[in-house]
Symmetry: C2
Subunit: 80 residues, 2 copies
């Protein structure tokens, strides 16, 4: 079953990568760009009986490895 884990920085946490991209966009002439935040998406397949089990697996993996819950939020989608 296909699972997507979406990991983003919590609000208020500084995003230096986003800031760098914002400066680069300004240098390229996109002066109107602001509030750039970069997140990541982990797509994977898991072995699970049903969508609910797959979602649970995704959440366990996010907590164990994919997200740093001190500074990041995540949510899990099951793509059927």
């Amino acid at each position: 079953m296909k699972v997507r884990v979406f990991v983003s920085l919590k609000e208020g946490v500084l995003d230096p990568q986003g800031k760098a991209v914002e400066h680069a966009l300004h240098s390229l002439g996109f002066e109107g760009a602001s509030d750039v935040r970069i997140s990541r998406v982990v797509d994977l397949h898991v072995k699970a009986e049903n969508a609910e089990a797959a979602r649970k697996k995704g959440e366990e993996m996010a907590r164990a490895l994919l997200a740093n819950e001190v500074i990041e939020d995540f949510y899990v989608e099951v793509i059927v």
Copy 2:
């Protein structure tokens, strides 16, 4: 206007970061995880008259900086 640019590796392009995550998941006991692919999402605000103009801006930024079209695909969503 809020724009989201979703950037993922083209199919067939090797994803070493995804492979590393896959191995780490296996080591942690998630043996069922496979086909791990990591993408990124760039959220930003742009100055635009309407949603269509915002989408166009997002596509220009993706082509100029956010995505490497040789190995990556992207799509742009406008979040109203």
